[in-house]
């Protein structure tokens, strides 16, 4: 669930303030230093490796899955985890490991696409607000304040009831509509601090258009915190999807997702606890690895934190 949303916002806020104070220098050397620092971050490396492996597993699912996807076998229901079916089989005799691999495709796509769309919307909103200021800024920031003031889950619930369907697009839409505020705040902050700096003034003086200044100068400069936020969003979106699925409003079967596998498994908790354990573990592992990764990226991209 978006449980970390607010603390993270706070952290990123702290971040922004720090950066504003430090006046981060941007350039090749900065990215190189960041990369080196990232490689030294042990937890981030573990997180990155796990996240990469999970992504590969999901991408290659059709080729590496031990059984055909969604093959029903009514003679092989409720097989316990073992050699034939590593993670056992479910109520229709489908191989759980296979389903987890295919469900991972959906869950990870939800995570990645949400991260991209949230960052894009957020970056645009933040850039516009920060760059233009005035009433545009006020409107956008009031919207942001508004969305930060409420627990989002109820809004997601209403959206889930409102938007028909049960696929990936719907979930991404629901998560993006209210999820962009963190990034918007970050980008706006960056823009505000960068706006007064020389190269923007120079660009203005040289007659560059506003759109060009936003696109070519301001956004690239605000990239670092956005990357961190996007990484954390991947895990968060997966958590939120699973929460919505638990309430029956997420990805709808027959499309498998880790969230809806868990929801189903609940009923069979006592008979087949493996059905609940494995999808839960995969959600947990994925979110954890993206959180490690995001944390490592933050440390790497912020020169002030490590002393």
């Amino acid at each position: 669930m978006a449980r970390a949303a607010t603390p993270r916002q706070f952290a990123l806020d702290l971040e922004r303030r720090r950066k504003e104070a430090a006046g981060v220098a941007v350039g090749q050397s900065y990215w190189q230093i960041a990369w080196k620092r990232f490689l030294k971050h042990r937890l981030a490396m573990i997180g990155g490796t796990v996240a990469l492996s999970l992504t590969l597993m999901a991408m290659l699912a059709p080729w590496i899955a031990p059984h055909p996807f969604d093959r029903i076998s009514l003679q092989h229901r409720w097989v316990q985890p073992g050699l034939g079916n590593l993670f056992g089989t479910d109520e229709l005799g489908r191989d759980v490991l296979t389903r987890i691999m295919f469900a991972g495709r959906i869950s990870l796509v939800v995570g990645y696409v949400t991260a991209v769309s949230v960052s894009t919307i957020g970056a645009l909103m933040g850039a516009v607000a920060g760059f233009y200021g005035g009433w545009i800024d006020s409107v956008i920031m009031r919207l942001v304040d508004m969305l930060i003031a409420v627990p989002l889950l109820p809004l997601y619930l209403i959206m889930a009831a409102l938007v028909p369907g049960g696929g990936v697009g719907r979930i991404v839409l629901i998560l993006s509509i209210f999820g962009w505020t963190t990034v918007a705040r970050l980008v706006r902050g960056q823009i505000l601090s960068l706006k007064s700096q020389d190269f923007v003034e120079a660009g203005r003086a040289m007659g560059a258009s506003e759109a060009r200044i936003i696109l070519r100068h301001l956004i690239p400069n605000a990239l670092a915190p956005v990357i961190v936020a996007a990484t954390l969003t991947v895990g968060n979106a997966i958590l939120t999807e699973s929460g919505l699925s638990y309430l029956g409003l997420g990805i709808q079967p027959p499309i498998p997702s880790w969230g809806n596998m868990l929801q189903r498994a609940q009923e069979y908790l006592l008979k087949a606890s493996w059905l609940a354990v494995f999808p839960g573990l995969f959600i947990f592992m994925t979110v954890l690895s993206f959180n490690f990764l995001g944390d490592g990226l933050r440390d790497a991209l912020d020169p002030r934190l490590k002393t």
Binding site: L74, P164, G248, Q252, P254, Q263, E267, L270, K271, V277
Partner: protein, 556 residues
């Protein structure tokens, strides 16, 4: 950080662990309070709600005039006898009008001490008949012209005058199982009938049933105390607490741990019942045959499905025995061959049956002009690929499993199935009732031995914009012979003749197959094995507390 470590321990422990089975160690003491639980909380009580959960409480607080017993026979609780044509207290008048005389038992009192009389019945009838009252089920009550209490000195005799023939005029006075107190509701009703639904009475009703309701803590529980003046004998269990535990897994855990004694409307699956029986041997996990008809509706406006052969082919293509088994293992759940449950006295066991036979299905489809395409999926006469949509209520795991089987097995005969589920509010809100489902919709209907579902099958009752979407023939079944037989059934007062007509109707149904019957879902309840006289009925409106005043602990 102890919690964090605990979670790791928990995770490791949960990892593929077989939990030790057997009973929890502590013995259950004989409690004064019976703890009852449901997975649903009613909105309000009384006739202005449609929720099943309200029905359970009606059984407890209002009692029932003539409840169905466990043998699906009407029993006499609040009336002296059931009027009958033979005895003459049920008369058919010219112009198909009827006059039914009811004798009420004396001695029933409202929980505030006032006696229950025919005037209460007459008041309730008048109130629910009033179009300003936001009541809902008026199907039967609209057939009643008036209720008279002919002798002011005998407020225990009433005459129900019917406008039209109705076969079950002798089992309930006007289609409701309980009565409401005139002295508590009349003033509010007369002053503002349209706002009656907001009256506080519906949150804490004073009934005439075996128990008095003492509190309703919204979102948590209700409490009841025995009505000592209940004329059928003071209840042995003095207090009941009814808890609302919406998550069926949590409810199950409560039953297993013994903190809940009895459940109904529990949303348990047969599997969960199995677990309960295994882990708490003190609990009776009861499976009762019921009249809950699970089926797949075909939309007859579809070019493919309007052809009877296609519908029949789908019938042959599906292994409905396996489907019934997935829904409830152990061969307990009967496969349905028509809409009428085998326990119904008019059930016809000799209708056409569609046993699993994919070859026959393929032959029928070929006969109907379908040819396989290069991908193994059929093409119709115009070359269109046969892809059908099946929908059900999203979140119902059994139905979603059945959909998977349907998809797989129809694929075997060359029909590609796409699953598109809808939330229950949409599915029942407009999707089925306004016939928006393109091909197949899977859901259940509840019947009783007195159901005359002509509005579900008669072509007059096909919902459309023209008739403001009234009627319940959601498949759009048009069959003249079937229409005619329903017109007869509805007006046939003779039980034997009606039974024969119903049997004939089932033959027409099974041949024409407007919907594909899947199975009759069992009614699942739990209660303590040590509790005597629990007799689950398994019919809508009659839940396990229907005879709760008779319940007692084994050694009491």
């Amino acid at each position: 950080m102890a919690r964090g470590w605990l979670r790791w321990v928990a995770l490791l422990a949960a990892f593929g662990l077989a939990f030790p089975s057997g009973a929890p160690a502590a013995p259950v003491p004989r409690k004064d309070t019976l703890v009852f639980a449901m997975a649903q909380e009613p909105d309000i009580l009384g006739p202005m709600t449609v929720m099943a959960a309200s029905g359970v409480i009606h059984n407890i607080v209002f009692g029932d005039i003539t409840p169905f017993n466990e043998k699906w026979q009407r029993t006499l609780v609040m009336v002296e006898k059931l009027p009958s044509l033979k005895d003459g207290d049920w008369q058919v008048l010219p112009n198909n009008k009827m006059r039914v005389t009811w004798k009420l038992k004396r001695g029933f009192t409202w929980h505030d001490g006032k006696p229950v009389t025919a005037l209460d019945y007459r008041f309730m009838y008048g109130m629910l008949r009033n179009p300003q009252v936001p009541s809902i089920a008026r199907f039967i009550i609209n057939k009643v012209d008036n209720i008279l209490v002919p002798n002011p000195n005998d407020p225990y005799t009433m005459v129900v005058q019917w406008n039209e023939l109705w076969p079950f005029a002798g089992t309930q006075p006007f289609g409701y199982g309980y009565v409401l107190p005139r002295h508590l509701l009349e003033r509010a009703y007369l002053s503002n009938p349209a706002q009656l639904k907001a009256h506080p009475y519906w949150r804490l009703p004073v009934g005439a049933g075996p128990y008095r309701m003492t509190e309703w803590v919204a979102g948590s529980h209700m409490s009841f105390e025995a009505h000592e003046k209940w004329p059928l004998g003071a209840p042995a269990i003095k207090k009941i607490q009814l808890r609302f535990i919406l998550d069926s897994t949590v409810l199950q855990a409560n039953v297993i741990s013994g903190s809940v004694d009895a459940t109904d409307i529990n949303n348990f699956s047969c599997l969960q019942m199995e677990q309960i029986a295994q882990r708490n041997p003190r609990v009776e996990a009861h499976h009762r045959e019921a009249m809950v008809w699970e089926r797949i509706d075909f939309n007859h406006d579809d070019v493919w499905l309007k052809d009877k052969r296609v519908r029949q082919a789908i019938g042959y293509a599906l292994d409905r025995k396996a489907i019934a088994e997935v829904s409830c293992a152990g061969g307990r759940q009967p496969v349905a061959h028509s809409w009428m449950a085998p326990g119904h006295p008019a059930a016809n066991p000799n209708v056409k049956k569609y046993d699993y036979d994919p070859a026959k299905a393929r032959a029928l489809l070929a006969e109907a002009g379908f040819r396989p395409g290069p991908d193994g999926i059929l093409r119709d006469g115009t070359g269109k690929r046969v892809e059908m949509v099946i929908s059900t209520t999203a979140g119902n795991s059994i139905r979603e499993q059945v959909e998977q089987i349907v998809k797989e097995q129809l694929r075997q005969v060359g029909i590609d199935v796409r699953i598109e589920n809808r939330p229950a509010s949409v599915f029942f809100g407009t999707y089925t009732t306004r016939r928006q489902f393109p091909h197949m919709a899977m859901y259940a209907s509840l019947f009783t031995p007195e159901s005359v579902p002509s509005n579900r099958f008669h072509s007059r009752d096909i919902p459309s914009a023209a008739n403001s979407w009234s009627g319940d023939n959601r498949v759009g079944w048009r069959n003249a012979e079937n229409d005619q037989i329903w017109d007869q059934i509805i007006a046939e007062l003779d039980v034997e003749k009606r039974t024969a007509l119903l049997k004939k109707q089932q033959e027409i149904f099974a041949e024409d197959l407007p919907s594909l019957p899947l199975y009759f879902r069992l009614d699942l309840t739990t209660y303590p094995k040590a509790m005597r006289n629990v007799k689950p009925v398994g019919l809508g409106s009659y839940y396990i507390p229907w005879n709760i005043w008779e319940w007692k602990w084994g050694d009491q």
